[in-house]
């Protein structure tokens, strides 16, 4: 019983809360990732998996055992694991002669595989080799993508969206200005994707905004794109659909013009124009005993003014 159906009810409040947490929600919380190994893994791959796990620490599960599956051929076992742990992101590492040091980044929609991208590790420098101090666990990293390929190539576009999904932290309202320490920088260059992780130091500059100095802290990996299994446009659009309730309510009757002036419409009841209070022009008032000619002479004046 994974769903909260009324027929079998949960026995404790705790289990009820657990099941409610797993139901689809209006606004979703952070996606968690499951990190697993394939049939055969090399030292590089295991280290890389461990480093990514440390980057995504509270919201990731690292499996110790090897899973002999091939995600590109049969994704049922991945889907099963995702259902069990309620993780919608996965990272599958493997190593064989044909595809050495392979990492498969992927995400799920409704516990079915949405996108999968296979990246090969060409050069890898582990976290341990860097002497710099690391940021505390759970800091929201700043993500920077560089290279026009990320907007030109459709596969790289999806990869960019996948990496954002993977590495962005929880959605927050505000961030402590002094706590912006971690930067993940992805560069697309010559068909390779370079991932670097820096710790940023905010130095004093003349004005309020500080000057940034970077120090390489985290793992540095050079990826090469191998196979991809991307969702069709239709499925992707379906997955992007947000429920109506989340759309901000539009205030009616308010419009803005080009200059930014706010306009609204005021609805009045029917007015009796004969009893309208207008400005009194004393000079134009009719005096007793005046001739018609004078009136005529004044009449055009009135017309002009109005």
């Amino acid at each position: 019983m994974t769903q909260l159906d009324g027929i079998t009810k949960p026995k404790t409040k705790r289990s009820k809360r657990f099941l409610e947490n797993r139901l689809p929600k209006l606004s979703e919380d952070l996606k968690s990732a499951m990190i697993m190994k394939g049939g055969n893994t090399s030292e590089t791959v295991t280290q890389a998996l461990k480093d990514v796990y440390s980057l995504k620490k509270p919201n990731a599960v690292l499996y110790k055992k090897k899973n002999i599956t091939r995600p590109f051929e049969d994704s049922t076992s991945l889907e099963f694991f995702s259902k069990k742990t309620d993780c919608s992101l996965f990272l599958f590492g493997s190593h064989n002669k044909k595809r050495p040091n392979n990492l498969i980044f992927g995400r799920m929609f409704d516990f079915h595989v949405l996108d999968m991208v296979e990246l090969g590790i060409e050069k890898y420098v582990p976290l341990k080799q860097f002497k710099a101090e690391t940021c505390p666990e759970g800091t929201k990293p700043m993500l920077v993508f560089a290279g026009e390929a990320f907007s030109m190539d459709s596969e790289l576009k999806r990869l960019k969206s996948l990496l954002i999904d993977f590495f962005r932290g929880p959605k927050v309202d505000g961030v402590r200005l002094a706590g912006l320490e971690h930067v993940l920088h992805f560069t697309a260059l010559d068909g390779r994707i370079y991932m670097r992780s820096y710790r940023c130091m905010l130095k004093k500059s003349g004005c309020r905004t500080p000057r940034i100095e970077l120090e390489e802290m985290g793992p540095s990996i050079d990826f090469v794109m191998r196979r991809t299994h991307l969702a069709s446009e239709q499925l992707y659009q379906l997955a992007l659909r947000q429920p109506r309730a989340l759309k901000p309510k539009k205030k009616k009757n308010i419009s803005h013009d080009v200059f930014g002036t706010k306009f609204g419409r005021v609805h009045m009841q029917k007015q009796d124009l004969s009893k309208l209070q207008t400005r009194k022009m004393k000079g134009l008032r009719k005096r007793r005993g005046e001739t018609g000619a004078q009136d005529e002479s004044t009449a055009p004046k009135v017309l002009k003014e109005s």
């Binding site: 919608s88 700043m142 960019k160 402590r176 200005l177």
Partner: protein
Amino acid sequence: MAASSVEELLAKAEQDEAEKLKSITVKKDLDLEFDLGNLLAYDPNRVELRQQNREEFLKALARDNTQLLINEIWKIPTERVEEAIVAKLPDPTTPLPREKPPPKPKPPTKWEQFAKLKGIQKKKKTNLVWDENAKEWRRRWGYKRANDNTKDWLIEVPDTADPNEDQFAKRVKAKKERVAKNELNRLKNIARAQKIKIPAAGLTPKAQQSKDELALAVSVAKTSTASVGRFQDRLPKEKASKKKGEKRKFEPVIGDFSNEKQKQLDLLQIMDSKKPKLDVTKAVNKQMREEDREAAAAKYKRGAGKKGRRGGMPGKGRGPGGKGGKGGKGKGGKAAAGGGGGGKRKGKPGKK
């Protein structure tokens, strides 16, 4: 002179400002795209590796991009939260796919529909109720509740009730029935929400079923065959059921005048024509079928009765006998029907 000194001052001020900003300005061909809700920056400029060392180049690029991102973040309004300056981030703008499809709204239950119809609002109830007997505030339901009638050690027997009846057991039984009814309604609501079909009133097993319910159950069982009950045998004294599910459509009393006129004229025409109302072929076939069935039933009974005594080959004996019987009967039947049809007919030549 004054003008030139003013100019000088202005130029100096500008220079100072430029120097201050020098440390944080970065020159880029194309502006970066920012998504501050995700702390994301995208640099669409072309990346070209020059003679520099790749690591240095990447680091410099990263520094520049991060500087621009930090500049953007520092522009948004901040507030002070417990001795830390916090920048209020806007909502993220990059569209990212969801984890699960958005939740579907549940259909209202029977009570909810009724309440909406009548305009009944939910009244919020207090947690604690005053218990007169215990003279304290107790919870409304649950453990140690107020006005708990299960704890009564005395129940007055009402005048209308049987003096030998156990009132305590009666109370317990009533409670169980209420609970069961509630549970049934809850499950019905769930079935309605999930659109699961449930058997109708008479078909679920009950302790005491009325005659009508049994008849309904029998008729449903009979029609749930592949041929919708056409070839189901009936018990000796069982009445054939009326046609269920067939709806008769009646024309409105004052409707299509031309249609009504046409119908009346057609009727007159049929009455006027000298064609027989009886469809001969159909009548003949029906009679034949009826007779065949009776003959087969009779043979089977005879064969079954004799089987017990002879134990021989009743099938083979029956076969040619049956065939002969059938053929003879058929011819006879046809002749009789032909004769009957001819007798009824008036002007048309008879079929032989």
